[in-house]
């Protein structure tokens, strides 16, 4: 179970809002955030970051295809092929996780992103019980940032 406190959760919320604020003229909003008590969300594309160092767990962003396509268009990227949609979802997950180090410091070691389409076994294996879910609304679409990290007791 993720052991983030409210201030730590806000770090991720701020990172998500900042990302969309920089990449687009349309603001994102946080629809809700909650502690998942069943299977966490999984949309069309997912970018997964594994956390190590003094923390363990994972952070992932999952988003619908049309949202990622719209984001690429906002970024003036004409290539909205599958390859670039996967690239985008991985890069967003990487950026949000990397920005969180402003608070957590270098002790929060993050992996390179792994991006995939649909529900992958990797996701089931990576996420433990009861992660935090932040639901983000942008341009009529909804994505989720799922944060499952805890301080390593070792």
């Amino acid at each position: 179970m993720s052991d983030l406190n409210e201030n730590q959760l806000k770090i991720f919320i701020d990172a998500v809002l900042h990302y969309f604020g920089q990449m687009s003229t349309h603001k994102a909003e946080i629809k809700t955030s909650y502690l998942a008590n069943k299977t966490p969300p999984c949309a069309d594309y997912t970018g997964l970051i594994t956390v190590s160092g003094r923390y363990r767990g994972c952070i992932y962003l999952t988003a619908p295809r049309l949202m990622l396509r719209q984001l690429l268009i906002e970024m003036r990227e004409p290539d909205t092929t599958e390859e670039n949609l996967l690239d985008a979802v991985g890069e967003i997950a990487n950026t949000i996780s990397g920005n969180a180090r402003r608070h957590f410091g270098e002790a929060l070691e993050i992996s390179v992103p792994v991006a995939f389409k649909g529900v992958a076994e990797q996701l089931r294996a990576a996420v433990r019980a009861r992660p935090f879910v932040i639901v983000v609304g942008w341009c009529g679409y909804e994505a989720a940032v799922v944060v499952d990290i805890e301080a390593d007791a070792k």
Binding site: Q22, M75, N94, R102, I110, S111
Partner: protein, 121 residues
């Protein structure tokens, strides 16, 4: 000035390439791109870039190790790190290895153009 772009994201590489063609940056010409540190060393040896944008979190060889190796190849090479890693220790480590600046992701078009202007001064 000859620019090399190093980032594991194709979207970021093409975005930086597009912005490097900005009218405020007439002196920049792109000589190569790489998606990890190992590729960057190879491109640098072949194309001899004078300025570099460098991601940090990449497979095979990360950006900080790559900055150090590029500085060993050409100490005059000017490198700006463009990374999401926002902690102070990482920025200091990159600067210690020879980077000349640090731009945090996500960056706006204006921020990148300004950073490249500073780099080619």
């Amino acid at each position: 000035m000859k620019l090399m772009i190093v980032d594991d994201s194709n979207i970021i590489r093409t975005r930086i390439a597009r912005l490097a063609a900005h009218p405020l940056l007439p002196e920049i010409s792109i000589v190569g791109m790489a998606k990890n540190g190992v590729e960057a060393i190879d491109v640098a040896q072949r194309c001899q870039p004078e300025v570099v944008t460098m991601d940090l979190t990449m497979p095979q060889m990360d950006g900080i190790a790559c900055v150090e190796k590029l500085q060993a190849i050409d100490p005059e090479m000017r490198i700006i790190v463009v990374s999401a890693l926002s902690d102070k220790a990482t920025a200091i480590a990159a600067l210690k290895k020879g980077a000349h600046g640090f731009l945090h992701k996500p960056f706006s078009d204006e921020q990148l153009v300004a950073a490249l202007q500073e780099l080619v001064k």
